[in-house]
């Protein structure tokens, strides 16, 4: 049917002429609108991607980690306790781990020092993460010096720098033999930082945890499901920064829509009268205003989402870097992989396009049905 298509295009022509009459204002509106969509979409893409990485990676985490608490603070676990826990039915394997945090006064960053039993890790050597290598400006084969708690510096050879792709989990790691960790921190034999437990049957984990707590009230077991749940809750919309950003965006959309919905100026009313007097019906006027609204909001939505995608997945969300870095000195560099959430994009579409388009139609409803003879009496 050619006629209806032509009618839509003709009225779209006039809608565009009408928008172009106030070129500056409408261009600014589209820019701000696009910016708001861009920020929200970037957030959505970034958070979804990170959550997916956490989910996929941490599913490999230990079934349970047991810590010991003294007076509400984390305390090392004696070997005897580890042995007793090993004896609990359902526990397949207990790995006593030695690890801790090392603050480097030279460049002011926090490192995570972990004991690794990997046979290829040489004596007096370390494997370091990319972030550590960047901050200390070292490469494979160099020597690094860490200040032991005994007061003496300890030299280590950088045997290997961990892969770039693993920065998301390893950026600040310094891996050495457990013996070296104990020397560095004056960590006595017979104590472990915490225990990593593997259970024969994952469904028994809550039972095992309950038994551990019953036997050792000062133990704090952390299940893998809880680890995963922590990362489901990152960047939660209830968190401080997110509330501010999302709240501002919602407010912006409300302002745009309100500006449109609060009625027509006398000039707009007169123009509708003119259109009706030269043969436009009410439905034509409604179509005109619908075009005006949807051209602006649809353009803003598509541009904003596309720019957000490029920003997050091709430029690693560089605009968020400042907020994410916070006060960290050591900051990991990782490339995010796309994880699109159709549900959230749809919600964003309905939040962006529909209210604004509807808001352009609301004041027109009554004005469009006015009798055209009003135009004769201008």
């Amino acid at each position: 049917m050619r006629a209806p298509v032509q009618r839509y295009r003709n009225i779209l022509d006039f809608a565009l002429s009408s928008l172009l009459r106030r070129k500056g204002r409408n261009l600014a509106l589209i820019c701000v609108y696009t910016l708001v969509v861009f920020v929200i979409a970037s957030l959505i893409f970034f958070v979804q991607s990170l959550k997916r990485e956490a989910r996929e990676l941490l599913v490999q985490a230990p079934d349970m980690v047991v810590q010991r608490m003294v007076a509400g603070r984390h305390d090392p676990m004696p070997a005897a306790q580890a042995e007793a826990i090993r004896a609990i039915r359902g526990v397949e394997e207990v790995h006593s781990r030695v690890w801790g945090y090392y603050y480097d006064p030279v460049f002011g960053g926090n490192l995570t020092v972990m004991g690794s039993d990997d046979p290829t890790l040489a004596a007096d050597a370390v494997w370091i993460g990319q972030g550590v290598a960047r901050n200390m400006r070292v490469k494979e084969g160099d020597l690094i010096s860490l200040r032991g708690y005994g007061g003496l510096p300890m030299l280590f050879a950088v045997q290997k720098i961990l892969a770039e792709e693993s920065e998301l989990v390893s950026s600040d790691l310094v891996l050495m033999s457990p013996k070296d960790v104990r020397s560095l921190f004056n960590f006595p034999e017979g104590l472990a930082t915490d225990l990593a437990i593997t259970a024969g049957n994952p469904r028994e984990l809550p039972t095992i945890a309950a038994k551990i707590v019953e036997q050792f009230p000062d133990a704090r077991p952390i299940l893998k499901s809880e680890i995963l749940r922590t990362y489901e809750a990152i960047f939660d919309w209830r968190g401080g920064l997110m509330v501010v950003v999302l709240g501002s965006a919602v407010l912006a959309f409300i302002i745009f829509a309100w500006d449109k919905a609060t009625g027509l100026s006398a000039e707009e009313r007169k123009e509708i009268g003119i259109l009706k007097s030269i043969g436009w019906e009410s439905s034509d006027v409604l179509l005109l205003k619908f075009w005006e609204g949807s051209v602006v909001s649809l353009t803003a939505f598509l541009s904003g989402v596309l720019l957000a995608y490029v920003h997050v997945f091709f430029f690693s969300a560089s605009l968020f870097e400042h907020a994410l870095k916070g006060w960290s000195v050591l900051f990991p560099r990782y490339r995010l992989m796309p994880a699109l959430d159709g549900y959230q994009l749809t919600v964003l579409f309905f939040l962006t396009v529909l209210p604004y388009t509807a808001a352009t139609l609301v004041p027109i409803w009554r004005a469009a049905t006015v009798d055209p003879d009003a135009a004769m009496r201008s």
């Binding site: 295009r9 779209l12 022509d13 565009l16 002429s17 172009l20 990485e53 990676l57 941490l58 490999q60 985490a61 230990p62 509400g72 945090y101 926090n110 990997d118 993460g129 972030g131 892969a163 792709e165 693993s166 998301l168 989990v169 950026s171 600040d172 790691l173 891996l175 915490d194 809550p206 945890a209 707590v213 019953e214 009230p217 704090r220 077991p221 952390i222 680890i227 749940r229 922590t230 990362y231 990152i234 960047f235 968190g239 401080g240 920064l241 997110m242 051209v295 649809l298 353009t299 598509l302 541009s303 596309l306 907020a323 916070g326 006060w327 960290s328 000195v329 992989m337 796309p338 699109l340």
Partner: protein, 108 residues
């Protein structure tokens, strides 16, 4: 060129790019899995429990290992002062199963 033609073309191009974006995202799932392999290996071998996102403090570096009190470790009213605190919340503590049961009094 008519204005409507230009406008519809622009929207058309944007829609095509939008579809391209969806396809691109889908196509990246394979490379994403491959990229994850080295990280996954480390998580498995070392028993890692957290992503290295915020290295400001112990409880921001290992939020899954932290508890509600970790942020106040200096002083009960010492409020959380790291910016990343507003991005990630500590896990609920104590977990329901870890609640120590009160000692049952023995009958004399």
């Amino acid at each position: 060129m008519r204005k409507s033609t230009l406008c519809l073309s622009l929207i058309g191009v944007q829609s095509v790019l939008f579809l391209g974006m969806l396809i691109h995202a889908k196509a990246q799932e394979g490379p994403a899995a491959r990229q994850r392999q080295s990280s996954a290996a480390l998580v498995r071998s070392l028993g890692l429990t957290d992503l290295c996102l915020f290295t400001e403090a112990r409880y921001t570096r290992h939020p899954a290992m932290a508890d509600r009190h970790a942020a106040f470790q200096d002083h009960p009213m010492g409020l959380d002062h790291f910016p990343s605190g507003s991005l990630i919340a500590p896990p609920t503590f104590p977990s329901p199963h870890a609640r120590p049961r009160p000692a049952v009094p023995q009958h004399p």
